[in-house]
Symmetry: C2
Subunit: 153 residues, 2 copies
């Protein structure tokens, strides 16, 4: 039982909000409390999808969340970062640097998923599928990694 951070970036890709809710549901089923760190527009899109907060009840500003990790105010045993562009890589690399004890999963999607995955130099488990609106190839890989991760934390 603990909090798990889901980090998300700009909401250009249709699969992102669905993935956030899917991961949050998985975590809740596993007895963990999901916290979504997002910029205002990405947060608004997830909230629109989940108006009754069945899946996500706690949101943080992404800069604030990284700041709290850096100053040690908050720790998360598991951080799941959704990445579909260079900005996503950058904040995930920063997160890795300030939270070296957290288990970090990088979920890479969108048309540049494989290229982005190759650029990663921080320690992380990767889930990669170049999808933009078909979640299926990503969900199969994600389930496997999430099942392993929740047993490990």
């Amino acid at each position: 039982m603990g909090e798990v951070l889901i980090l998300i970036g700009c909401p250009q890709i249709p699969v992102q909000s669905p993935l956030v809710l899917y991961i949050a549901d998985f975590l809740q089923d596993a007895g963990h409390h999901p916290v979504v760190a997002a910029n205002p527009s990405a947060k608004q899109l997830v909230k629109t999808s989940d108006p009754k907060s069945h899946y996500v009840s706690e949101y943080k500003d992404v800069e604030k969340a990284i700041g709290e990790l850096a100053d040690g105010t908050v720790q998360y045993p598991l951080i799941i970062s959704l990445i579909h562009n260079d900005a996503g890589l950058t904040y995930t690399a920063t997160t890795s640097a300030v939270a070296p004890k957290s288990l970090l999963i990088s979920v890479l999607f969108g048309e540049h998923a494989y290229d982005l995955a190759e650029e990663i130099e921080y320690p992380t488990e990767k889930v990669v599928a170049p999808v933009t609106h078909n979640t299926r190839p990503l969900l199969i890989k994600l389930d496997e990694v999430l099942e392993w991760a929740v047993l490990k934390i």
Copy 2:
């Protein structure tokens, strides 16, 4: 108390799945049962967003739904169609033709929302906002029309 059909098209635009869940939640609060008619990939995206079926518990294939309306097997007092391209306009126009007694709301979004809205020749209430991932401008207009519609049916 009755079934309301939510018609959706291809899931290229990030706001679509969130809008479906938001509308479904609104309808449930108003005592109606939402039925989502979608193609397989659009359905999969909504299902990924709502793995426990808190918001949507019934899905239909979009062609099958239009077929049922055409042969009179099923009737809906209210049909809400989400449109972001010409294909969306086409199936909504067909729906209007086969279900002339239903109250039809056309929700137009994406960068061509206003152009698409001007092309509409079937009788419908329109909700138009040229948004792709910021739902806010659309939700304000949508709330107003949905409140009026659920009182009318």
